[in-house]
């Protein structure tokens, strides 16, 4: 009878999510079961509160993050291993990585970063459609793989922009 993460918060099992609503629900639940509410309780109640509170945190951390949420949602419907990324995307990956390596000034870096940001947005929209409308779990896995790469690249770019602006 264990509930899945969506059922815990009693929200629809979709990729598109109202983060504010999720946070509110998370807060309400934690306020009722967090170990801080059980400092004067019995040992068993303390243990149960710790277990439940931990579970709620796990569910919340998963659902509030795009990548983790998509992976979890796919896992609820589909068990196969993800397919390898297409060779076209792998080529594109290498091109981006080479481009980033050659960038030396802050201006071209900002241009590059904006481009990657746009790609992240496009891929997120595509993933969202694949999951919530088409329910194409197989293709969604591929899309998620690409989004993971793009998110990491964006993170790397952002970190690089910090080092540029610090110097």
């Amino acid at each position: 009878m264990s509930l899945n993460y969506y059922e815990i918060f009693n929200i629809p099992a979709e990729f598109k999510i109202d983060l504010k609503n999720l946070h509110d629900r998370y807060g309400e639940i934690q306020k009722s079961i967090h170990p801080d509410r059980f400092t004067a309780a019995t040992k068993v109640e303390k243990e149960q509160s710790l277990i439940k509170s931990t579970e709620i945190n796990e569910a919340y951390q998963t659902l509030k993050n795009n990548l983790l949420r998509a992976k979890y949602l796919i896992g609820l419907h589909h068990e196969n291993e993800p397919l390898p990324l297409s060779s076209a995307f792998l080529m594109q990956q290498m091109e981006w990585e080479e481009e980033l390596e050659e960038i030396e000034g802050i201006e071209p870096l900002i241009v590059f970063k904006e481009n990657i940001k746009m790609n992240v947005q496009t891929e997120t929209t595509r993933l969202s459609k694949l999951l919530d409308q088409d329910k194409n779990w197989e293709e969604a896995q591929t899309s998620l793989g690409q989004l993971k790469f793009l998110t990491n690249l964006l993170k790397k770019t952002t970190e690089l922009s910090y080092t540029f602006s610090d110097n």
Partner: protein, 617 residues
């Protein structure tokens, strides 16, 4: 309907008596204890009307002296007087630079030992002297024994340091309600008293540590988005730079007495420059050292500029970790006496481009916040506030090539549990060493080692066939337990570890015992009284829980609980401690299902206001 009538599980049984609870700011330089007196958070004074107790312990005489009395000994007997012990807590000798301490340090049973005329003292014992002192002044003021205390620690304190702090509290006879991060306590002080919501930066420059945290406050929920800091940077370093400027460096390191006097002068100059623009030093320290120097405010800020810059670098990192821009910050809280320095106020204000929240006493803010939190945890208020904390540093285990595999990433909200599966790398391998580490770097040597344990009894298989699941659980205090289990066969081998630093439970128990130094009879009657109290409490709570939530259970489950309940009730009247303990344990385990279902019901209830199609309106 019965469904809507349940009371909050944790609060249901104890009558509304006021429980004595305090907040303790255990600082590097100074410590404070605060409590709620007539609904006002107040710092408790000692019998000399001092609120700020120097974190100094002197072993010149027995019993040890703490605070101002100990400081007097710092100049007379520096070899037996310990200050800034917080810098040593939870560390071993390799972690620190012994040259920065004037006392004799040595490796002592996994931790540091300081040689005094009263024997070797560990940082845990020294900290516990300070905590004992604070406990005593609070109990004098409140007129009775404390129910518990909230103790604050720097946000980036690692496992070992948190555990050591908790051990020190136990040794001082304090029940720790919760360890909370200092900046979080400061936010409680400001947030609750002034009801602000938004993203906040807590900038905390104390005597010996610097901390910055980014917090989000919303609808009674405090979330720490990120923390950053420097355990080796504080107001003391400003004193040090100033002292070095006053004379040349060699003189400082030569003689501990000269060093102490110089630092005292430097501190005085620093503090004076907060209120006046210009200071003239004219002090004779020894027959050969006579300081005559002039300094103004801008000279002082120039001199210490690199220190202030370092704090802002940490601030930037914390903002990045929280993925928040400077413009999104709704307030900056200033904590710690060192933030009184005008140069710091100015730099931070300029960085955030807004005026600072500094209307509470920066020395008292942390203790005040801890007291408010302690009062809440003790169940004295009906505030609908919950404090959620994060783990400051990632936890992982060592894998092949001394590379760390992260299991719990930093900034995860507590409590948290995560597991990862590993496998064997040799054919027929029957044991595996699990090395627990904490830190952000990829290599073991760059992180902190928390402890090692061995998982034995793995059935011999080809390499890569065994599945070993390593689970980490971190509780609300940020304290870790690790277990490992082999999954691929039905043979189960698991072990719970407490990382191998600080003191073991047995060691603490032994130290507590010897400090009571009481007769066997006393011990036995105390143990019996404790067992009876606990049993009575459990009986009461179970009765209440059963009354309100019988409907959640099957009749067989109810019968089982009722049977164990009446057995325990009867046993309380006997004086058999062992039987009482056994039956308490038994009832504890039979009520597990009830507790779990009540918890689920609380979750349902918490969400009931949120569901649109609720039929039970």
């Amino acid at each position: 309907m019965a469904l809507l009538q349940i009371s909050e599980p944790g609060k249901s049984t104890i009558p509304h008596e006021h429980r004595r609870a305090v907040g303790i700011d255990l600082g590097t330089t100074n410590s404070l204890v605060a409590t709620i007196i007539s609904s006002q958070a107040t710092v408790v004074e000692n019998s000399f009307n001092e609120k700020i107790i120097p974190s100094v312990v002197s072993y010149s005489k027995s019993p040890a002296l703490v605070g101002t009395d100990a400081i007097k000994n710092q100049i007379i007997d520096p070899e037996n007087t310990v200050s800034s012990v917080k810098r040593l807590v939870g560390k071993n000798i390799d972690d620190i630079n012994p040259e920065s301490f004037s006392l004799i340090l040595k490796n002592h049973e996994n931790t540091i030992g300081i040689k005094t005329i009263q024997g070797i003292k560990t940082p845990i014992e020294i900290s516990s002297e300070i905590l004992k002192y604070l406990k005593n002044i609070a109990e004098d003021r409140l007129g009775g024994e404390l129910m518990g205390a909230v103790i604050t620690v720097p946000a980036y304190f690692d496992e070992a340091q948190r555990q050591a702090t908790k051990d020190a509290a136990k040794l001082a006879g304090l029940n720790v309600l919760r360890l909370i991060n200092e900046p979080t306590a400061a936010a409680v002080a400001y947030g609750l008293e002034q009801k602000i919501e938004g993203n906040f930066v807590i900038y905390d420059l104390g005597g010996g540590t610097f901390d910055v945290s980014i917090l989000r406050l919303s609808e009674g929920l405090f979330e720490v988005l990120s923390t950053h800091g420097n355990a080796q940077l504080g107001g003391d370093d400003y004193d040090q730079i100033l002292a070095e400027w006053l004379v040349n460096e060699d003189v400082i390191n030569n003689d501990p007495k000269v060093k102490e006097s110089l630092l005292k002068i430097a501190r005085h100059v620093k503090e004076s420059l907060t209120n006046i623009d210009f200071f003239h030093v004219d002090e004779k320290i020894t027959s050969t050292i006579h300081i005559k120097k002039k300094i103004n405010r801008s000279q002082f800020s120039e001199l210490t500029k690199s220190l202030t810059e370092k704090t802002l670098t940490s601030v930037k990192q914390a903002l990045r970790d929280a993925e928040i821009n400077v413009e999104d910050i709704d307030g900056v809280v200033m904590v710690g006496g060192s933030t009184r320095m005008p140069s710091i106020q100015k730099s931070v204000q300029r960085f955030f481009n807004q005026s600072l929240l500094n209307n509470l006493n920066p020395d008292e803010v942390v203790a005040i916040g801890a007291a408010i939190q302690a009062n809440m945890l003790a169940g004295n208020t009906n505030d609908d506030i919950l404090l959620l904390d994060v783990i400051p540093l990632s936890l992982g285990i060592e894998t092949i090539g001394e590379i760390i595999e992260r299991i719990i990433p930093r900034n995860s909200t507590l409590p948290i549990a995560m597991a990862q599966e590993f496998t064997t790398y040799k054919d027929g391998q029957t044991a595996m060493i699990i090395h627990v580490v904490q830190g952000e770097r990829d290599l073991v040597k760059d992180c902190r080692s928390l402890g090692k344990f061995t998982l034995k009894g793995i059935p011999p298989m080809v390499a890569g066939a065994a599945k070993i699941r390593v689970s980490f659980q971190v509780d609300t205090d940020g304290l870790l337990s690790v277990s490992a289990k082999e999954l691929s066969t039905n043979i189960e081998a698991s072990i719970e570890v407490k990382p191998s630093y600080g003191l073991s439970e047995d060691q603490i128990a032994l130290m507590l015992e010897s400090s009571y130094a009481s007769a066997e009879d006393d011990k036995e009657s105390r143990a019996l009284a404790e067992a009876k109290t606990e049993a009575t409490q459990l009986v009461e709570m179970t009765k209440n829980a059963l009354n309100s939530d019988k409907s959640l259970l099957a009749s067989s489950e109810i019968k089982l609980i009722e049977k164990d309940l009446s057995l325990l009730k009867k046993s309380i009247k006997t004086n058999d401690r062992i039987v009482i303990r056994e039956l308490t344990e038994k009832l504890n385990s039979t009520t597990e299902v009830l507790a779990s279902k009540r918890m689920d019901k609380s979750i349902q209830k918490a969400l009931s206001g949120k569901t649109i199609n609720s039929l039970e309106l």
